[in-house]
Symmetry: C2
Subunit: 338 residues, 2 copies
Amino acid sequence: MTIRDVAKSAGVSPATVSRVLNKPDLVEPETRERVRFAMEKLNFQPNAIARGLSAQRSDTLGLIVPGITDLFFNELYRGIDRASQSYGMKVLLFNAEHARDRALDGFSFLGQHQVSGIIFTSKLVTEEFDPVLQRLRIPVVLVLTQSTAKTPLQAFRVDDIKAVFDVVSYLVSRGHHRIGMIAGKQDHEITGQLRLRGYEMGLQHFGIPYDPRRVEYGDYRFDEGYSAMQRLLDRQRDLQLTAVCTAADEMALGAIRCLYDNGLRVPEDMSVVGFDDLQISRMILPRMTTVAQPFADIGAHAVRWLMGVLGQDQTPSETGIYFLPHRLVERESVLTLV
Amino acid sequence: MTIRDVAKSAGVSPATVSRVLNKPDLVEPETRERVRFAMEKLNFQPNAIARGLSAQRSDTLGLIVPGITDLFFNELYRGIDRASQSYGMKVLLFNAEHARDRALDGFSFLGQHQVSGIIFTSKLVTEEFDPVLQRLRIPVVLVLTQSTAKTPLQAFRVDDIKAVFDVVSYLVSRGHHRIGMIAGKQDHEITGQLRLRGYEMGLQHFGIPYDPRRVEYGDYRFDEGYSAMQRLLDRQRDLQLTAVCTAADEMALGAIRCLYDNGLRVPEDMSVVGFDDLQISRMILPRMTTVAQPFADIGAHAVRWLMGVLGQDQTPSETGIYFLPHRLVERESVLTLV
DNA sequence: TTGTAAGCGTTATCAT
DNA sequence: ATGATAACGCTTACAA
């Protein structure tokens, strides 16, 4: 079932059929209807592949995610998918399964599929990406991360430093002074360093000395949140922490679980603050106080930016980091000290 | 950068370049290397779209999901993605955003993109799908659901009836007799009816009379799990339930939250059993006892089945429902009564 | 307003 | 073992 069959059935040329598909106003209403009728009758479905080849564009945006099982993925994807649709674009997903080289593969995979633009998520873009990035003739935008590579890349994310700074301020305002941190591993993702930096700056701002023994590290997942908390607890006799802030909700979940397993309650015996505001963070017990990242919004911005670049034909005129506003969501995991 | 450029650079014909790409052994080792070298030098990336058009296949499987924000999506996708890759296939995702007509759109979207097969998830396939299914010339496989349409469709899922039956048995073996159920809405997904049926059969088997007042319904999401539990609790003086089984982990989460908001503890005052075994179910407090669905496995089976059909050229010889084994995961949300 | 025809970048069939 | 050449199904100048 091709455009030719429709053309024959409608008694017009293939070009006309193509026109009613793409620029219906260029064709006389009467013939247009005739063609549409033929399409209906023959149940014609245009071949998106042929269309893409001929028109030299696939109307597709590529999305590279570090791992599909990351709990923030869903919301981010939703934002990107919705925004894409509003531009008549589709999304082609590439899951790097948390492997660095797979992330690199993602670029050529998407390149081969002729995507118009690429959204890269979450992992830091380092210099080792440069060769790939250089020869790629497709605009790339970063989301929830940034680049330390030579290739300048536009990024959309929240101000991680400021966000954790705000968390510390909030905790101090609730009477906390001995505040611990479960940070992301420093070599892992850029947010690991940034969020730790926000913690340091927060303490500094309130004249609280920074004590490295109050900081533990994890890989952003539940299990390492749990074990990081356990290590903190092992020193708790010295530390006397009253609150812990974390670099990720999922680690906060682990921390909370660990606290309970040690016979401590949240927030009565220890306050915990997360980061992300995943769907589940409001479902658990206690409802988690956390920093909300506007995932859907961030995704939408990335798409919009790409479409802008594509509109003015491949000139990423200016690049930099665009910070979207985060929001501290107060729920039940922080105790107000007298 | 096309196959012709490479050909020119290597001093061969385009056909030869194509051969080293697809059937390297048909070309003399020496020329093969020469071509490969040229590809390297020119940083050639084959155009997947052109390839698809010419070869009349896209090496792609389509996946239709009801909603990307469903918490089970991630694991299912992972299973499907992995299995697909092992067959050299890619996955094109279509998110129906929980809208029935969007689900239908999914078929034509994927059809236009020339996917070799379609995996349809979770929503019941009813007769209204028949017209679309009939004219679709692509094999379809169902996952986590089944079909009541005329078109026979292969399905992979767990035995929902048996699973909830097992839950009831388990609860009875722990001394529970007054067992409530938070079921899925009956018009929603097939599993809604099936799981409720399992509950009924479980009760019947143990000689416990079925009392409709012990059953409430929700749409599988947290909030409705919460309100369903609240409705049950409103009757709790009469009901005297000691345990509740649910049709979904997410609703169980809502139920647990509701119980705590009513000053009741889980499992001390009420036992709760989930369904799905989402990642988070082991992270929360109390760790949830639930029925594990082998999502990744189910996905892998679906892919394998499709590839089988495609191998023997479009003949879905036999179709039916293939049940994958579920597993009751005992954790902490059920109390053993003396 | 509509038709003709030349691609788009591959693959695949024939020859050689 | 390699090279011409005709598809694949559509879009898009250009012509009519």
